[in-house]
């Protein structure tokens, strides 16, 4: 259990968190990702750009979904409404997809050298997180242009939200990357699960379009819907970046609880499955 021994000094903490290994593996991921492709890093910009154009056309123009008007910001743009949740969602998807294979794809390394294995899924999540940081910075500029002024005061809140999402994603990545070593079905299951998961999260439409008055087995649709932890993140991101409003206390509690639980389970599962990884991978 990497977190069971309490560090006594900065050096201990450095070693415990495997700072150098994480930095180097994350850099490896980022540096090698677009090597030998003509467009290089432009691909990482093209991906959300195409998504915004297509989703805007289908959901805003064809299906006429009305984005809620930002309160109190007064923003009324489907593209911004979409982007503030789509970028974190795409981080969620790419992180999990790549982290699933983080251990199996590094089998030569895992069977030849001992190092704490949790750094493999963690570093692939970190690499995607750095991409998200850049994308969010661009989005902030876009919002500032539309608003006419820069919204510096929301940056710390946004960063806190992103940091919690990072930890939540690491927890999930630990679970599924370890499980995938034993059952390769996990990576296929993930591919199947991610699409419905996206449609069950308020990314393309506002949360208030989910009926609050209908019930399923005596439980309200809205209540069931909110069991999905990504709903809290989507709503909170939209509060901070679109409405320019501080998310409610309940929202924060739900987010912190989900992060804590998933991270704890993630480490537990990973540590249970780690000893035989070199044999099963």
């Amino acid at each position: 259990m990497p977190l069971s021994r309490l560090p006594r000094s900065r050096r201990d903490l450095h070693v415990l968190l495997q700072v150098d290994l994480l930095v180097n593996l994350t850099l490896r991921d980022l540096r090698s990702k677009y090597k030998r492709s003509a467009l290089g890093w432009s691909w990482s910009v093209l991906n959300p750009l195409v998504a915004v154009v297509v989703y805007s056309a289908v959901f805003s123009v064809f299906l006429r979904i009305q984005p809620s008007v930002g309160d109190p910001s007064g923003l009324d743009s489907y593209a911004v409404f979409l982007l503030v949740t789509l970028l974190p969602w795409q981080f969620h998807v790419t992180s999990l997809t790549e982290a699933t294979r983080a251990i199996t794809a590094n089998a030569p390394l895992v069977t030849k050298i001992y190092f704490p294995r949790w750094v493999l899924p963690t570093s692939s999540v970190l690499a995607r997180f750095l991409t998200l940081l850049v994308e969010m910075a661009v989005l902030l500029v876009l919002i500032a242009v539309l608003q006419g002024h820069i919204t510096f005061q929301w940056i710390p809140v946004l960063l806190a939200l992103m940091l919690l999402q990072l930890l939540f994603t690491i927890g999930l990545a630990l679970m599924i990357s370890a499980a995938n070593v034993y059952f390769r079905d996990v990576q296929h299951f993930l591919g199947v699960a991610l699409a419905p998961w996206m449609f069950l999260t308020p990314i393309l439409y506002p949360l208030n379009m989910v009926p609050a008055d209908k019930e399923f087995l005596g439980i309200g649709y809205r209540t069931l819907y909110q069991l999905n932890p990504m709903v809290s993140w989507a709503k909170a991101y939209r509060n901070v970046l679109y409405d320019l409003r501080f998310p409610s206390l309940e929202r924060w509690l739900a987010i912190v609880a989900a992060t804590g639980i998933v991270l704890a389970i993630g480490f537990r599962v990973f540590n249970r499955l780690e000893p035989r990884m070199a044999e099963e991978v």
């Binding site: 490896r28 390394l109 190092f115 079905d185 070199a278």
Partner: protein, 404 residues
């Protein structure tokens, strides 16, 4: 180095088992349907192993293929967890199991040094301090900012070795990696081992090369079928291994005693001494022509093979090593391939000699198969004059007294 106990490594009843699942289709569905009772056989790769390796010693581990050597090494390196007993490692350990295992082909040599170092447990600051030494030892100053995919296999391996050796481990595990690189690099590796040994570090060498083990290691352990057969001073253990190894092998008649013997699964089918007329012979006269003939199954090798021969005197002295280079690769065969090494005059002194054979892939980086001391043969005296030493110089005497 703060040595805490007397032993760098202590094994106490160590056991490691593997599951041999006969049906590799090990999916979630299969597990659910079988009710978590997937059928598998247990196989103990190591069992009841007790061994103590003191700090500062050089220790060899020998044994036949499948004896559990590599499993033991992986347990010591922390890659595999024991299922029984304990393996206690006291001190910072570095394992040379595969050189450059952590290299990413698209990254430059420089980036890979930092990456590989971090995987081996180095901080970036520690690597920065030793960076010039690492690059210097690997002799890659001009290429360090090139992507390693452009490196030759030799460059790749040199860089991997250099990083691993500069981690300054208290305990160094080495698995058969000395068989790589050119002669000059091998010599520098051995010098570096000698230096580490002089600094009081513990070196554990797992090898098929008994000469190397005998030369480098004071103590040796012989492992057979996952249990310890013998441990003690290297010459004694190696002798016992050679005797024991021969006992189970098919014995050939006459002086051509086959040590390891060739199994039905080996790629090498036969190794023979052939005279000028193409007849098999059991011995050769000193200074006379001879051919070493190796036949191997190219159909099962999957890739072009380089044949390497090692000639040793019976006392273990290394006389010569040669490899077939491009010659054997030019033959494209799907069945048996026969490679001859023709010697015009075998310039060695009379005595008993042994031939080792190894098959490498074309890059010489991985050994596909190695048979140590496979064929033993006699070099018979020719001519009347008395000689001693290693080499038969083949000269002629003449004497004169007039006109001086």
């Amino acid at each position: 180095m703060a040595a805490r106990g007397p032993n760098a490594i202590a094994l106490d009843g160590l056991g490691k088992k593997f599951r041999l699942t006969h049906d590799r289709n090990w999916t979630l569905k299969a597990t659910v349907l079988a009710g978590h009772r997937v059928r598998y056989e247990e196989f103990w790769a190591l069992r009841g192993l007790d061994l103590e390796i003191p700090h500062g010693s050089t220790f060899g581990i020998i044994g036949g293929n499948g004896s559990g050597k590599s499993t033991l090494l992986k347990v010591l390196a922390g890659i595999l967890r024991p299922d029984e007993g304990t393996a206690t490692v006291d001190g910072r350990l570095s394992a040379l199991l595969e050189l450059g295992a952590g290299f990413h082909p698209e990254l430059t040599g420089r980036e890979n040094v930092y990456l590989n170092g971090a995987i081996l447990g180095f901080t970036s600051r520690e690597i920065r301090r030793r960076f010039d030494d690492i690059v210097g030892f690997a002799e890659l100053d001009r290429f360090i900012d090139e992507p390693v995919r452009n490196y030759s296999s030799g460059m790749y391996v040199r860089l991997g070795f250099s990083v691993a050796i500069h981690v300054e481990p208290e305990i160094l595990l080495v698995d058969e990696v000395l068989a790589v690189g050119d002669h000059a690099f091998q010599k520098r590796c051995l010098d570096r081992f000698a230096q580490l040994k002089a600094e009081g570090r513990t070196i554990i060498l797992v090898s098929h090369d008994l000469d190397m083990v005998g030369w480098l290691c004071e103590q040796t352990a012989w492992i057979q079928q996952g249990t310890l057969r013998a441990a003690g001073p290297s010459p004694e253990v190696i002798d016992r291994f050679l005797d024991g190894g021969a006992a189970g092998a098919p014995t050939a008649s006459g002086p051509r005693r086959r040590f390891g013997g060739l199994g039905p699964d080996d790629l090498v089918r036969s190794v023979d001494l052939v005279d000028a007329n193409g007849h098999d012979v059991d011995g050769v006269g000193s200074g006379r022509p001879v051919r070493f003939r190796v036949r191997y199954d190219a159909g099962r090798a999957d890739e072009p093979v380089t044949v390497a021969l090692g000639l040793y005197r019976a006392d273990g002295t290394h006389v010569a090593s040669i490899n077939s280079g491009a010659a054997s690769r030019a033959v494209d065969g799907n069945g048996l391939v026969e490679v001859d090494y023709a010697i015009g005059a075998l310039a060695v002194q009379p005595g008993t000699y042994e031939l080792s054979v190894a098959l490498h892939d074309h890059s010489m980086r991985t050994v596909m198969e190695r048979h140590t001391h496979l064929v033993r043969f006699e070099v018979e005296p020719t001519g009347g004059d008395h000689q001693n030493g290693l080499v038969a110089l083949g000269g002629t005497w003449s004497a004169r007294s007039d006109g001086l």
